[in-house]
């Protein structure tokens, strides 16, 4: 991990959490990003660009959100999404369509 560049990104993300997330969510978000960055500390160099890119996208998302509403949960949501069954995804899809139609 290119230290100072990644540390600056890490700091920016923690700052964005502080500014854009409610305290409970901030704590959760901080733990999540800390865990991810720690896991990638010893990652092979070829994995770093994709990792960095994903977190830069996440940072943008957080910065555009307010009060930790939907967009802020993006990183977590995609993780949850990976664990859903096809049936659960279909239900979620229906729910989403229903909400949009209201």
């Amino acid at each position: 991990m290119a230290p100072s560049r990644m540390l600056a990104l890490y700091r920016d993300i923690l700052r964005a959490h502080r500014e854009h997330l409610r305290p409970g969510l901030r704590r959760f978000g901080d733990q999540y990003v800390a865990h991810e960055f720690r896991q990638h500390k010893s990652a092979k160099p070829e994995f770093i660009p994709a990792f960095e890119e994903q977190w830069r996208t996440y940072l943008q998302t957080i910065r555009q959100s307010r009060d930790g509403m939907a967009p802020a949960a993006h990183g977590v949501a995609s993780e949850v999404d990976n664990q859903l069954s096809a049936e659960q995804k279909a239900q979620l899809q229906k729910l989403e369509e229903r909400i949009k139609s209201l």
């Binding site: 700052r15 502080r18 500390k41």
Partner: protein, 91 residues
Amino acid sequence: MGARSFATFLDRADVTDRVLGVVKSFEKVDPAKVTAKSHFVSDLGLDSLDTVEVVMAFEDEFTLEIEDKEAEKIQTCEDAINFICAHPHAK
């Protein structure tokens, strides 16, 4: 605010107590090892990511924002104490 707001500097002993308090309450730190001279990495066993978190905790404690260039230089409790004592807006 406005006309009533002016630069005030905090008392060094008070800053020292609060800085050490923040570091001692950091999960991965053994509170018994913390002194004003402690280096976060070599004395307290923290890594570079932890150090970012500790500096963020100082920002929260003293209601200030430390620029990246300054934040990178804070590697010991004493560095933090010096920075905060010299910062007119620390609360």
